[in-house]
């Protein structure tokens, strides 16, 4: 075989592997829509998205996912309230204030948080956090949106911190030097020059953290309580879309309305995370342009 031929062969080989992931993605999307769309013949889109009751196995069934949708949004919001200040503050500290020695210690530790399997978080939440929450707030049960938010918030910290830190570190040195030259101190420089310059990257970090939280399944299934009601407070049990799919898919009859409804929930989730990713991408591009 000639050298050029060999090169072509190798290139083709790697191209095939690169295309493979596109192939898988489109396969998943096609199956998702093929299995999910038939539910809208039984329950119209409006009824499906805004129906207040989820009773998929009763006669007649109710396929309203509003409680599940709101459950997911509440838990995500709660997690962000915890993860954004902690994650961004850690990123600022690591990028701007920490000595190299401390930085070398803290960074891997935070990234280690991402390496803990979510079922471990769930178990920890169920056995340790939930009883504690019930005791402290004098609640009948500790499995609720608050407990779930807390755990998911901790799980989102590594994503937010590491991407934010990259964004902060990417702010050109000249910006800082210009600020110092004008007589600003370190805090003023960080707050008024570096953070605004890194805002795009930090927003990207937050949105990717959100995508991580809203897609999280096993932890919320274990600690959020799972009541399919429209939440009124953080201290009530809630059920998310992911938990519903995980709990009910295993034993439902393939091809039934319930089965299609679960796939339709997956479509809703897919659309939400896809839009998060698109927004994050747009923000990153804008951010690059501003710095360039």
């Amino acid at each position: 075989m000639r050298r050029a031929q060999k090169e072509n062969l190798i290139r083709g080989f790697f191209c095939l592997f690169a295309l493979l992931s596109i192939f898988f993605l489109s396969g998943i999307v096609i199956v998702l829509f093929k299995e999910g769309l038939p539910i809208f013949e039984v329950a119209p889109l409006g009824e499906f998205l805004f129906g207040k009751f989820w009773y998929p196995t009763y006669e007649p069934p109710d396929f309203g996912i509003l409680p599940l949708l709101l459950g997911s949004l509440w838990v995500t919001l709660g997690a962000l309230i915890i993860a954004v200040p902690l994650g961004v503050a850690s990123a600022i500290y690591i990028a701007e204030a920490a000595s190299p020695k401390i930085k070398e210690f803290i960074k891997p530790v935070i990234e280690l948080l991402a390496g803990i399997p979510s079922v471990v978080y769930g178990f920890f939440g169920m056995v340790v956090v939930a009883p504690l929450v019930a005791k402290i707030f004098n609640l009948p049960v500790g499995l609720n949106a608050f407990t779930a938010s807390m755990l998911l918030g901790i799980m989102a910290i590594p994503t937010i911190t590491s991407i934010s830190e990259d964004a902060i570190s990417a702010v050109p040195e000249s910006f800082k030097e210009a600020s110092y030259a004008l007589g600003a101190n370190k805090w003023e420089t960080t707050a008024k020059v570096i953070l605004p310059a890194a805002a795009g990257g930090i927003s990207t970090a937050i949105i990717l953290g959100m995508a991580r939280v809203i897609g999280e399944t096993i932890t919320v299934l274990m600690v959020a309580g799972g009541a399919a009601v429209i939440p009124h407070s953080f201290f009530e049990p809630v059920r998310t879309m992911t938990a519903t799919i995980a709990a009910e898919m295993g034993e439902t009859v393939a091809g039934s309305a319930h089965f299609h409804a679960l796939f339709a929930i997956a479509i809703v989730l897919f659309v939400i995370t896809l839009s998060f990713n698109i927004i994050a991408d747009l923000l990153t591009q804008r951010f690059r342009r501003r710095l360039g």
């Binding site: 009751f53 989820w54 009773y55 998929p56 196995t57 009763y58 006669e59 409680p67 169920m126 056995v127 939930a130 009883p131 019930a134 009948p140 049960v141 500790g142 499995l143 299934l221 274990m222 309580g225 799972g226 009541a227 399919a228 009601v229 009530e236 049990p237 059920r239 938990a243 995980a246 709990a247 009910e248 898919m249 295993g250 034993e251 439902t252 009859v253 319930h258």
Partner: protein, 273 residues
């Protein structure tokens, strides 16, 4: 290059045909029906096929009604069912010359559990239904402490839920704010840690860490379930056309054997022995 690929494909094709031929010759058994019985049938089929590799068993869910319909149409050899056949189904079967024979393979019994510190020892089925549908929401109404009742339920697709909903709730809707738990073990774990909680689990999941309630004056136990006096219990059937014979007979005998009944127990049901 192209020729090699073509040759390869051709060989795969021939190989595929050959193996299919072998499969068609081997013994096949089709089991269909109740999702409650599904885990028993599935596990038993796995073990059975390990012992007799020439046998090919396909186990499908679909619900008791689907299984019985398939048996009447001659599509399956064994129909799993969590209820006795209805009169209409029997008439339909007779019309088609099918003579369904039931075999009870296991008992399904569900215990209602509370935190061990709860002073309430027993409930009537009406009270239980009241709790789960939302009419009763404080233990004080049942002679217990003044404490909100935390209702724990299973995911609606599970067999345990189906049985409980049918026998205890008469198919009325569970209150929407009930906690959803994805397994018997998760329910037991929640009840163990929550003072005001009530939940239900398969009889196999009872332990000293939770308190099983007396229902309508009957203590849930293997004995009362086998006697049929405990109200939240039911037999699980495998139906065949006529007396089971051949492979179907071997399989049902395996399920009824000591090893088969151990599988029944492992899956959280009450074994017949």
């Amino acid at each position: 290059m192209k020729r090699i690929i073509l040759q390869g494909l051709l060989m795969l094709f021939i190989f595929g045909l050959a193996t299919q031929g072998i499969c068609a010759e081997s013994k096949r058994l089709v089991i269909q029906g109740s999702t409650t019985v599904l885990p028993i049938a599935q596990k038993a089929a796995e073990v059975f096929m390990q012992k007799r590799p020439e046998v090919d068993i396909s186990v499908r869910g679909g619900g008791s009604g689907t299984g019985i319909a398939a048996l009447i149409d001659g599509i399956c050899d064994i129909a799993d069912s969590s209820r006795p056949m209805k009169k209409k189904e029997i008439i339909k079967a007779k019309e088609k010359g099918v003579n369904p024979e039931p075999r009870v393979v296991a008992m399904d019994g569900i215990a209602v559990i509370v935190h061990p510190s709860n002073p309430v020892d027993g409930l009537t089925l009406t009270q239980l239904k009241g709790i789960y549908t939302g009419k009763i929401s404080n233990w004080a109404e049942l002679g217990g402490r003044n404490q909100k009742i935390v209702v724990a339920s299973r995911d609606v697709a599970s067999g345990t839920y189906e049985c409980f909903s049918k026998l205890a709730l008469k198919k009325e809707r569970v209150r929407p704010d009930a906690l959803l738990q994805a397994s018997n073990a998760a329910v037991a774990s929640t009840i163990k840690r929550t003072k005001g909680a009530i939940g239900y689990v398969g009889l196999g999941y009872l332990s000293s860490e939770v308190k099983a309630l007396i229902i309508n004056g009957v203590v849930p136990s293997v004995e009362t379930v086998l006697k049929g006096t405990y109200p939240i219990s039911r037999p699980l059937f495998m139906y065949t056309n006529g007396k089971p014979k051949g492979l179907a007979k071997d399989f049902i005998n395996f399920v009824l054997s000591e090893e088969g009944q151990r599988i029944v127990k492992e899956q959280g049901f009450v074994s017949l022995k």
